[in-house]
Symmetry: C2
């Protein structure tokens, strides 16, 4: 099997030609001083090398060996510590962190592409750095200057890692029920006591300290607050001191991601520091959670790309049967890529992955404008980030599983054997639909808060912008433009029907949310395909433009009809779902 | 987690009320002398007990422990041998075998339900017996009387098991390239030499002999012949003799089905016996393969049912959040089954599983009439078996994976943990879409041979019969009947377009086959739902009829639109798939 090779040409095309990164960055002074396209290309080239040479080689072995919990220590598989050290020293953990605290100050629009490469190469490894970057983002946004100065440089440098501690056995999607307690101490810090489960990267041997962001309740309060709780105490000089009574109860044995530690964490009078305001912990945590939601979408996207490459390589090598109508080369057996069904499978993965990358880059761009921009541009980008984040998390991770399963099918019987490596992608990416809020929760957030919460204001604004943009495309097929434009309007109409109904039938949101998100995703991908095929026409590589046109036509003709299926499901409403008595289940 | 409980009421309803087993059996004298509804119910009750008490308890432990290859022996997990002995002694392996050779002579229409229970309880265990029954069926259909008398009683009794040896590393979906050789010996037997891979149940410690059905080529022939090759030689008295030079090269390490042995088998001058005519081995093997294809569909169906039960139980127990519009009981947290999205997931699994069971029973019924019937009834049933078998294999196994993944989603984070058991269903059932001919191969067989191979004669006959049946239903919703009737006609129209196009564009079959099969499956399930909801109206249990009507409405309103999506894909044709140059993949 060929090692993973990042699709650099696709990535540069999206940045430069489809979403005009140079113009975006020029409008954001804090970014413009750190990056231009040449710098971005150099960083992507280096990330491609790291993903192929450093991360991909430990992917299969890490799955076989897994994480071990032994003598109160969590030990990662062979090669993980060395790889993490090199990765951290390369500055990759702090890629998008603030330069004044040791980060590289790169835009998220570039960061999403680096993340994708890392996830393509090794899901399990990449989570450790992703959680660290997300925790750092939260501390930077809501922590005191003292906390920032003390913790962020060590996190951006990768010397310390981060973890997000929310779930308890009785409190998963519904965090109201958490029981972890925080008692104020005289010095302004807090004593934290309780247990958390499903803590990704909760402990490991990659770094000398783990910085936990822990949700807990203050005495006599039902509000939830957020605390920074280091595994090892840090003194005023920044040196590591005593253990902080943060211990690992056990690690989970999982379907996949076996090289990523998933811990039960126990806090027994551990010292913690309030982040943000008391009882406003969920708001603070959402800074990290939204970051991780995008990251987990990108986990799915990276899996899709890796799956595509493996399946396409196999389909070009594996010889079986002859083409319908006779072998093109006169051979007695052809590579299976001659078969329509194999091509169909590969094209399904391919068009969803390339459009998925566009979603990832657009979301990264809006995050940058929301963080570094000003005025109405900044406010609008914030609205778009709200709208796009749950879609990126759910739609990209759903497509990630689809891609892995479809690619596995291309391998036939060999796809079920561990040795081939493709079945690991299925097992590893399955969790992406579940953690950081299940995809059902994402859809309810999308339809209930982001779409109908403001009476369709943000959705309408976004759809109108897409529609206007489509009308400016000079190379795209007119019928295809009309089709996508009509479906964009259908989204507004259907959302409006839901919005009108929700007071009388509040269950309609929950019952129809997943189909609405899927409809939105499929229409959005149609929009992206027209953007991409149009932008490719003036490309210096003529074959590149031809390819994008083929893929765009495939998407519009073959996959876009799925949007109408999901819209039909939404229109069919909640009645047949909610009316059936519970006893009949 | 509750143990698996077979849905006996559903099963009896299908047999008795929907497909009128008593009338079918009365028309088949060879069956009528062995079974009536009372006998069938007694057998199902016993199968329910066996599946719950004997098979389900070794499902999780077998996955954890797996099969081991050690000192040239293949050792199954703890408890497998004891369970297999008890299962065989109960007569379950020979349930549908001929009474004069030690079988129980039961109809397949009942056998499919027993198979479903066993697969629900334990996928891996059930394969051993299923392959034995399939091999016995093939020997019975094509073997000499001597082979039948010598091998079948020991196989029906479960004392010897069976295996199907087709695949070689270079020859999977395309068997033309097999290299295993068969050289005639003076005594009329053959010397078999070669290697086979992916041999399910190729070796194990459950039985004292394994009877291999091996595809091989005679000298100077490109034709493929079928041979019976026992692991241990059997002398004229039926006693076991020397080793037959049939050895295990290795076992595969797989994504799932870890308690099912998947062997590389080596034949080194092993003694074999021709089954059927020389160079006609594929025809003979297809008797077994068609049997296994239905069985593997039922593996998917059994998984769907098990997944539904686990998810529904969990959804009624797990408390998280409150219902939209307020808790129905005034609680601060409700069981998650109050949430529309959780109900949507459960209903998706439920309606596809119940309709899938109808497909399984209908196919079993047609197999019985094809085997035991006479005249035109027999001939028509043979045509329907040809039509339905690839659909049952592919559509049931595809829905099996969907069901397992959806059920896992209901479990949230707990679904990713091995302990819960739901992730095992995903891993175990994934192979069902691949082995016994990938689902792509099934679809090409369906559209290329079964549908267009006779210029739509069998499809039209079947569709007309369904349409006529629909018109007789007095309780079903008129609009729903009209919708399904129209879609049945759409299937004919679309198939006709493909049929007209295939000479000019032969790739159209391969490129559109999967979508055509999926369209057919979704329409067929709509037909089944109307049959079931109609047949339930006079049911003595009024709640049963109410439930079927809810489920039927859900299916027609929410899932049937997917047929239109797949029809749109077929109509979009092969051009966008085939035109793109291979170099662009």
């Amino acid at each position: 099997m060929n090692p993973y090779q990042a699709p650099l040409a696709e990535m540069k095309f999206l940045l430069d030609k489809v979403f005009d990164a140079p113009q975006t960055w020029a409008s954001l002074p804090a970014i413009a001083e750190n990056v231009d396209m040449d710098t971005a290309v150099a960083i992507m080239d280096e990330a491609e090398k790291i993903s192929r040479e450093l991360l991909h080689p430990i992917n299969r072995s890490g799955d076989e060996q897994g994480v071990v919990h032994q003598d109160d220590k969590v030990i990662t598989p062979d090669g993980y510590k060395e790889a993490y050290t090199q990765y951290a020293e390369g500055g990759w953990v702090g890629l998008c962190g603030e330069p004044e605290l040791g980060g590289m100050g790169m835009p998220k629009m570039l960061g999403v592409l680096v993340d994708e490469m890392a996830y393509s190469a090794c899901n399990a490894f990449t989570l450790y750095g992703s959680l660290t970057a997300g925790a750092a983002l939260c501390i930077n946004a809501h922590g005191s200057d003292e906390l920032k100065q003390k913790y962020l440089p060590m996190m951006y440098s990768g010397e310390w890692s981060g973890a997000m501690d929310m779930t308890e056995p009785q409190a998963g999607s519904d965090l109201r029920g958490i029981r972890t307690k925080a008692v104020p101490l005289d010095d302004g810090s807090y004593s934290i006591t309780g247990s958390k489960i499903f803590i990704t990267g909760g402990d490991h041997d990659l770094t000398e300290n783990v910085i936990h962001l822990v949700l807990a309740k203050l005495p006599d309060s039902n509000g939830i607050s957020l605390f920074l709780v280091p595994k090892i105490k840090v003194d005023d000089s920044g040196a590591l001191g005593d253990s902080n009574n943060v211990t690992v109860g056990s690690i989970e044995h999982k379907m996949g991601l076996k090289a990523s530690s998933t811990c039960v964490m126990n806090y027994d009078d551990a010292q913690g520091y309030l982040i943000g305001k008391a009882n406003r912990g969920l708001v603070c945590m959402f800074t990290m959670m939204n970051y991780e939601r995008l990251a987990i979408g990108i986990q799915g996207l990276g899996t899709s790309q890796a799956a595509y490459q493996m399946a396409a390589d196999y389909a070009k090598e594996r010889v079986q049967g002859v083409a319908a109508g006779g072998s093109p080369t006169g051979a007695t057996s052809d590579p299976i890529i001659v078969h329509g069904d194999v091509r169909r499978m590969l094209l399904n993965i391919r068009v969803l992955t390339e459009a998925g990358r566009a979603l990832s880059v657009l979301t990264g761009q809006q995050l940058d404008i929301a963080k570094y921009g000003e005025g109405e541009a900044q406010a609008k980008a914030s609205r778009y980030v709200g709208l796009l984040t749950p879609v990126a998390k759910a739609f990209l991770s759903d497509r990630g599983l689809d891609a892995a399963i479809t690619a596995q099918q291309v391998f036939g019987g060999h796809g079920y054997i561990r040795e081939t490596g493709i079945e690991q992608l299925v097992r590893d990416t399955r969790i992406a639909q579940i953690y950081e809020g299940t995809n059902g929760i994402q859809a309810i957030d999308f339809l209930g808060r982001k779409v109908t919460g403001d009476n369709l204001a943000a959705l309408t604004e976004f759809v109108n912008e897409c529609t206007a943009k489509l009308s400016t495309l000079s190379h795209a097929d007119a019928a295809h433009k009309a089709k996508v434009t009509e479906l964009l309007q259908q989204l507004i109409l259907v959302a409006s029907e839901i919005n009108d109904k929700k007071l009388e039938k509040p269950a309609v949101i929950n019952a129809c949310a997943v189909d609405f998100l899927d409809a939105f995703g499929h229409v959005l991908y149609g929009y992206f395909w027209l953007l991409m095929s149009d932008a490719a026409v003036p490309h210096s590589d003529k074959e590149f433009a031809v390819q994008k046109r083929y893929l765009s036509d495939f998407y519009i003709n073959k996959m876009l009809p799925k949007a109408e299926y999901h819209l039909a499901q939404v229109r069919a409403g909640e009645a047949t779902i909610m009316d059936i008595p519970e006893s009949l289940f």
